[in-house]
């Protein structure tokens, strides 16, 4: 569903074969900000809704037709009812998860951004630090949660630390890529007007890095959400992750899926938020 409806069919298929031409929808692609899931016409929206109705209706019908038990797969209608019915009980947990996500992400993102900005100024230091950053990016920070719980107990602290540890390196590695994009002509332009190092950073390097920074923030936030929910599933009696384990242990599948639905919505909202920010501030890239 990418691209406008004005694009003739042959060029669509041609562009689909070529990578990175701005027509693919990808989290890591800069051009995601320019094209993205560009739903433009009412016709497209109607088509998407129609597909959704057919899929959901089809599942509902099939589950009821074959008498699938509720604990194996609840029908969409019962999930919707559970979402509506249980929401007052789930809402506080949504709040806890959001607190962990927002505070952990903020801490991680700030540290990641500052480190990226500093480290890219010193290429030698960057070379030495790079393997460790890679280690931080590739290690699932969830693995540390049991340890963090031993040290910090079952409160917010271990979760916020885990979220920060998951989001920070993602933000950092992408922001560093952005800061490394040196355009010597633009820096020369600023220098020709007598710009200081700090001015060059804020007026040239930072805006040039912005698209990559936004990609990093988006990926960091989504990884943060995953880690927050995972950490909640490990221990502690609150948060959406805790609800998942609780409902599944009580075989309350409609409620379980209602929580899953809330989590997907959160993920989509994160994506849309950064997509809109990118469209506003980084669309010059394309």
């Amino acid at each position: 569903m990418s691209g406008g409806d004005a694009i003739p069919e042959f060029s669509k298929s041609k562009s689909g074969a070529k990578a990175g031409d701005g027509h693919e929808v990808s989290l890591t692609n800069l051009s995601a900000f320019a094209s993205g899931p560009g739903i433009k016409s009412g016709k497209e929206v109607a088509a998407i809704l129609a597909v959704a109705v057919i899929i959901i209706g089809g599942i509902e019908l099939a589950l009821r037709l074959f008498h699938v038990p509720l604990y194996i797969m609840p029908p969409p209608s019962s999930i919707a009812y559970a979402l509506f019915d249980e929401f007052p009980l789930i809402a506080p947990h949504l709040g806890y998860t959001l607190v962990e996500l927002v505070s952990g992400f903020t801490i991680g993102a700030i540290i990641g951004l500052v480190l990226a900005a500093v480290i890219t100024q010193f290429p030698f230091a960057e070379k030495i630090v790079a393997p460790y950053i890679l280690l931080l990016v590739t290690t699932p920070m969830l693995a540390l949660v049991p340890l963090l719980i031993l040290r910090f107990g079952f409160g917010y602290t271990p979760r916020i630390i885990a979220v920060a540890l998951a989001a920070g390196p993602m933000v950092m590695i992408n922001a560093a890529t952005g800061f490394r994009r040196v355009d010597s002509a633009k820096i020369a332009l600023a220098r020709s007007y007598g710009a200081s190092t700090l001015q060059i950073f804020w007026k040239i390097r930072a805006p040039m890095a912005l698209p990559m920074i936004l990609v990093g923030l988006m990926i960091g936030a989504i990884f943060g959400l995953l880690t927050a929910v995972g950490a909640e599933m490990v221990g502690g009696g609150f948060g959406l992750g805790n609800r998942l384990t609780t409902y599944s242990s009580m075989i309350q599948m409609p409620q379980f899926f209602a929580v899953v639905l809330i989590l997907s919505t959160l993920g989509i909202l994160i994506y849309v938020l950064f997509f809109l920010i990118g469209k506003k501030w980084a669309s010059w890239e394309a």
């Binding site: 002509a185 633009k186 020369a188 332009l189 600023a190 220098r191 020709s192 007007y193 007598g194 710009a195 001015q199 007026k203 040239i204 805006p207 040039m208 912005l210 501030w281 980084a282 010059w284 890239e285 394309a286």
Partner: protein, 275 residues
């Protein structure tokens, strides 16, 4: 050439030498290059590619330091970027995240100065960019981008304008249009201009003087006065004098590599290709 004038040079280059220290050894880019540019003069620097034209210009701008030698503006040695010198870069070098207005405001932001709105409006009008202030660089054609870059460079009212192959990326029609625009602006402001180009036609059209640099290491090989009156029409540019001058400069540059052969028609024997 210019030594008859009593006035001191606006921009004086004395024995400018630049050595680049690269991984594959030292590279002598400029070798004792000397040249004077008078007040209100337009001087073009032409030469084979890689001859150090851009190095020389960047040294004049204070963005590069010389290995030895000196560049003086109004008699004072240039040690770094100077507020009296404006630069128009290769390609337009606009900041893509800023619209046109914000791009032209950029130098003032760096200097924490208030932009001279009336002057900028006058310049925008002069180059035909009225009403384009809200557009982003990607929304403008190459020619329009370069006009905006010229406005940005002139906005601070520099007394010297350095132009580094500014129209190299433009098509030939747009290029001619831009050349006329530079001449108009010069007639208007009388800014001293040093113009780097690889187009001899462009150099002759614009300049009072064309300086030919030799192949690396860059030295001043020759200088030509261009005596034609301004504004220079297409008719003047089509005269035999211009044609001859163009050819002489071309020979200076091309002759650096391949000494001209005797101008007789090549016989069949000469063009025979040996296995």
């Amino acid at each position: 050439m210019n030594t008859g004038d009593a006035k001191k040079p606006k921009l004086g280059v004395q024995a400018a030498t630049k050595i680049y220290h690269t991984a594959s050894g030292d590279l002598l880019a400029l070798d004792r290059c000397s040249l004077d540019v008078s007040v209100n003069e337009i001087v073009s620097i032409v030469g084979p590619s890689g001859c150090g034209k851009t190095t020389l210009l960047w040294s004049m701008s204070g963005l590069h330091s010389l290995t030895s030698g000196e560049i003086r503006l109004d008699g004072k040695a240039i040690t770094g970027p100077h507020p009296d010198i404006g630069i128009v870069f290769q390609e337009a070098n606009l900041l893509p995240w800023r619209n046109l207005d914000a791009n032209i405001r950029f130098p003032f932001e760096i200097k924490s100065e208030k932009p001279d709105r009336a002057w900028i409006a006058h310049l925008l009008n002069r180059v035909g960019l009225d009403g384009f202030g809200g557009k982003f660089p990607r929304e403008l054609s190459g020619g329009m981008q370069q006009r905006a870059a010229i406005v940005r460079a002139l906005a601070l009212k520099p007394s010297v304008l350095l132009m580094d192959e500014p129209f190299g990326a433009l098509d030939s029609f747009t290029r001619e249009e831009m050349n006329r625009l530079v001449e108009e602006i010069w007639l208007d402001t009388k800014t001293t201009i040093v113009f780097i180009t690889h187009s001899i036609e462009e150099a002759i059209f614009l300049s009072d003087r064309v300086v030919v640099l030799s192949a690396r290491p860059g030295r001043v090989a020759k200088e030509y006065r261009v005596p034609f009156p301004r504004p220079r029409s297409l008719e003047i540019m089509a005269t035999k004098e211009v044609f001859d001058l163009t050819n002489r400069i071309k020979m200076d540059i091309v002759g650096e590599r391949t000494r001209p052969k005797a101008p007789e028609r090549p016989s069949a024997e000469i063009v025979r290709i040996r296995p």
